[in-house]
């Protein structure tokens, strides 16, 4: 999965970058700092082997800026209001989305679990959160199948909602049962401390990311 030439960042670094992106979104840094942070994150994404995604993010950012500064002030009022709120939200969430996407693509859930364990998160919370994260793609898959089935049977209107929700809930319930049976067999309830083959270590790249993030956060805090 990991190409040897790519950078590989520690899940803990990813989480720290997420926290800092959140703080930055909250304090609203000045434009040069915001631009710098986005470029830094895109660079990191590219170095981690997602060059295409990095370019895409930069394009999205450029598009939002264009929309906010050039297109929307000149467009009709009704469209302008709706779109500018959307552009605004997207711009605020963009840095979080970049880090989030990078983690989803490059950090295996197993590593994230070990990372959270080294930070002494309660084991119960780790189990529940990792199941939740793993179940999101499953929901998408399920809804795809259900939609296909609905097309075959020609279901319309309000019935559609019921026909989507009921199978989704039933499959969620049965997945919960099957998954718990498997997890209990594999010793999820074993009270002994868990071990893992994955060994996490923060290397130079991780420290660079963390220090850069802290510098950006401090700079935007001081200038705001």
């Amino acid at each position: 999965m990991n190409k040897p030439s790519c950078l590989h960042i520690d899940p803990r670094t990813g989480l720290l970058l997420l926290v800092m992106s959140n703080i930055l979104a909250f304090i609203q840094p000045s434009f040069p700092l915001e631009l710098g942070w986005i470029i830094f994150l895109c660079l990191l994404t590219a170095l981690c082997g997602c060059g295409k995604a990095a370019v895409k993010w930069l394009l999205v950012f450029g598009l939002i800026l264009c929309l906010q500064f050039y297109i929307l002030p000149a467009s009709p009022k009704l469209i302008a209001t709706g779109c500018s709120i959307f552009a605004n939200y997207t711009r605020r969430m963009l840095s979080c989305a970049i880090v989030g996407m990078l983690m989803v693509k490059r950090t295996p859930l197993r590593e994230l679990i070990v990372g959270l364990r080294t930070w002494h998160f309660p084991q119960k919370l780790i189990v529940a959160v990792s199941v939740t994260l793993r179940y999101f793609p499953a929901i998408r898959e399920e809804t795809g199948y259900i939609r296909d089935a609905m097309k075959l049977r020609n279901i319309h209107g309000l019935q559609k909602v019921e026909a989507l929700v009921v199978p989704l809930m039933i499959s969620a319930t049965s997945t919960a049962e099957e998954l718990s049976a498997a997890a209990v067999t594999r010793g999820i309830e074993n009270p002994a401390p868990k071990t893992s083959v994955v060994e996490l270590r923060l290397n130079a790249a991780d420290w660079t990311c963390i220090v850069t993030g802290v510098l950006f956060t401090a700079a935007s805090y001081l200038t705001s």
């Binding site: 997420l18 992106s21 959140n22 979104a25 909250f26 609203q28 906010q68 009022k77 302008a80 209001t81 709706g82 500018s84 709120i85 959307f86 605004n88 939200y89 605020r92 969430m93 840095s95 979080c96 989305a97 989030g100 119960k124 919370l125 189990v127 529940a128 959160v129 990792s130 199941v131 939740t132 994260l133 179940y135 999101f136 499953a138 929901i139 019921e162 929700v165 009921v166 989704l168 809930m169 039933i170 969620a172 319930t173 049965s174 997945t175 919960a176 049962e177 998954l179 718990s180 997890a183 209990v184 999820i188 309830e189 009270p191």
Partner: protein, 201 residues
Amino acid sequence: MSSNRLSRGLNGKDLITVGIFSAVYFVINFAFMLLSALHPILWILMPGFIAVFSGIPFLLMCTKVQKPGGVLLMGVITGLIYFVTGMFTVIILVTFVIACALAELSRAMMKYASFKGNLAAFVMFSLGMTGSPLPIWLTRDSFFAQISSQGMPESYIETLKAISSPTMLIVLFAAPVIGAFIGAYIAKGMFKKHFIKAGIV
């Protein structure tokens, strides 16, 4: 020692069940969160809409996990994922914690298996989402100053100011209560119509 604690509290199966239904709940929640960006009134009614549509996953989770801590864990997971999406404020954290605590309390007092207890818990839990638009009233001046400095359009701010009267504050809190009742009764109907027949509750 810790195995003792495990058997009394949530066990592995409960954790997985809560995890899965939290994912379903979060998807519904997030969809309405995105929808609420369209118009300010949708934002204020958002907690109510979420309550109407999330009744089924919440009550299904409650029937599967009849133990203290399930609702709290669901709230914590939702909060954690919201934190990741960058849409998290201190106020929403506070309302979430209070809502989950009250929900746990009402479940504990009215027995975990009763529909009434779960309904009360669902009302409390739904009220937690009011923390999202609450800053409009709570920190009014700094909130409007902040969103206008973020570049929100003048017309949006004007509409938001116009509709966020004190009476709207009552609507904000009434909507999730009414929504939770509707959501819970939809869920009850669905349970009768489908889930009991399918043998999953």
